[in-house]
């Protein structure tokens, strides 16, 4: 069973990459060059490699966020908005109180951002358990609202008048996480992300909360009979999910941007869902899955620099992953094909 799902993941990734190659081959005037840049580009120098790892940091946390909700069999489709508004709140507080010591303010802001995203997601969880509102739809609708509200602040009240784009003012650079592989963007936030993932792994594996979440996700009715407060567990899982999305947002700001920029996080939430699916909700596997997704993104970016393709190709490959990753019939389909070929 475990091998089967591993094989399915492998096939999904191969098919998705194959689709990427086909799309590039059809659209690029120099496909060999484009494909080479796509696959090798992220490893070609320290700068691209570091940037790829930097790009994986928010995906680790959104991947974790999605997987916790999935574990409780809840769909949190509002990751994008939860992340965005939490980053905005965190940036604002940092900017407002930048006279304080980073050692006091940064941990405080991380907690605030966690609960900003967490409470928003928990609200969808609450609506699900108390009012029977589909959390998949409510979290998404709230997310749309939050994205627009965030844009509103960045275009108006919280806009840096000197910035050429819709962005907040920079906060003091002493608040920025240190860089690991200069000149790339890779920053020490990666240790925070990995640390959180390890903690969550143990929480899910060893603690009562983790056990309750997993059991609720496996079988709600059984859990109810076993005396697990299913409603509360769902809300808590959503709270954690939104909280990690919030952390993903603010850590990216502290690590790379130093200010809030309109639309800076587009795709972090959706890719997080894909990361969780590839990792099959296993917290530790979220790390390689996030790096893989960052690799796709970076490969497309590098290839668009050195050839004539557009980076949106990454989205098509990612969609292919989404399409196939849960397809349980994929293996038997391939087996049937093989038999048909060998028989015919």
């Amino acid at each position: 069973m475990k091998n089967a799902s591993l094989l399915r993941t492998f096939i999904t990734i191969m098919v998705a990459l194959g689709i990427g190659i086909i799309v590039i081959a059809f659209t690029s005037s120099e496909p060999a060059n484009a494909i080479k840049s796509f696959f090798i580009g992220p490893f070609s120098n320290v700068y691209f490699f570091g940037n790829m790892l930097a790009a994986s940091i928010p995906l680790m946390l959104t991947g974790l966020a999605a997987s916790i909700a999935f574990s409780a069999s809840a769909f949190n489709l509002g990751l994008e908005g939860q992340l965005y508004i939490s980053a905005l709140v965190g940036t604002y507080i940092t900017w407002k109180f930048q006279g304080l010591s980073p050692f006091i303010l940064i941990p405080l802001v991380l907690v605030i951002s966690f609960f900003t995203g967490g409470v928003i997601a928990a609200f969808s969880g609450y609506l699900k358990v108390r009012r029977n509102v589909n959390e998949l739809i409510s979290s998404l609708l709230i997310s749309y609202t939050l994205m627009y509200m965030g844009d509103f602040f960045l275009e108006g009240p919280f806009k840096d008048p000197l910035a050429g784009l819709a962005a907040s003012p920079y906060f003091d650079s002493t608040f920025m996480f240190s860089k690991i592989l200069p000149p790339s963007d890779l920053h020490t936030g990666i240790f925070i992300a990995i640390g959180i993932i390890i903690i969550v792994y143990f929480v899910m594996k060893k603690s009562i909360v983790g056990f309750e979440i997993t059991l609720t996700g496996r079988n709600k009715i059984f859990s109810k009979y076993a005396g697990i407060p299913v409603s509360r567990v769902t809300v808590v899982a959503m709270l954690m999910s939104g909280g990690f999305a919030g952390l993903a947002g603010i850590i990216d700001i502290y690590g790379i941007h130093g200010r809030m920029i309109r639309g800076y996080s587009a795709g972090y939430g959706w890719n997080g869902i894909a990361v969780a699916l590839i990792a099959r909700n296993h917290p530790l596997l979220v790390i390689p899955a996030a790096i893989f997704f960052a690799y796709l993104e970076s490969g497309a970016n590098v290839a668009s620099l050195f050839s004539d393709i557009t980076p949106e190709i990454a989205r098509i490959i990612q969609a292919a992953v989404f399409y196939l990753i849960t397809a349980e019939g994929l293996l038997s389909f391939i087996k049937a094909r093989k038999e048909a070929v060998s028989n015919g």
Binding site: I137, L140, F322
Partner: protein, 294 residues
Amino acid sequence: MDDFMHTTITMMTPILLAALGGLFTELSGMLNIGLEGMMLSSAFLSVYVASISNNLLIGIAAGLGLSIILALIMAYLSLNLKANVFIVGLATNLFASGLTVFLLYTLCNSKGTVFFPKAPKLDMIEIPVIHNIPILGKIISGYNILDYLAIVLVFVCFYIIFKTPYGYHLRAVGKDSQTAVSVGISVYKHRMIAFVVSGLFAGLGGASLSLPLQTFVGGMTNGRGWIALVAVVLGRGNPIGVLGASIVFGIASALSNTLQASTDISPKLLLTVPFLVTLAVMIIYSTKRSNEDA
């Protein structure tokens, strides 16, 4: 006021069309969250093909074709390969957003807004006699063919769902698929058809977004597929109910538009109105339902 009513109907059309499509998959027992992506892909292809062929019908047919292909992919993966229907729906949305930007870039060398002046305009139909009645004339007359088609299709769907054997079977599949199987109704076949119908309607919805403006903007569906999904849930399996919900969301969108034109409230804040109204309606409705259950 009559202008406002007019905007309401115009804003309602894409939502209503997509929601009618979503109704079929809902009745077959599946929540189709790929509506957004199907709409978006058709919004692009219909206006693009209408422009290069200089023919509206060919344009619409192309848009519907692409939307139905996306529906078939969804159906195949979820029904044949047993993939999770929500995840496959997300895949559809993600794929459509990538595909449209990619095609826009490859075919039109742009990533933002593209105006297609060569695409034939959708004519406003002025109904004789009624058009000249004050107020009422403006509310009932002067829409494009897709706006009228959407209303007609509500009743066509009503007829199909409640008066034809196909409709009975479809509802049986959604209510209790095992019983349906035991009386010889094919769950697979009805779900497959439901997906194709949802692709058809969502495609029409997408075309009704881009064609009247002769314009495509990246991501122009902007959540309408999701709002349509809520209209499906609120419609309780009845096209008339879906129409009612769509009217409410049309009003919310019209309100957002009208306020943007007439006040200096930030447009970004006003854009949240349709989503907040949709959410509020969903919450109010759900409370009511749990009361009824109790």
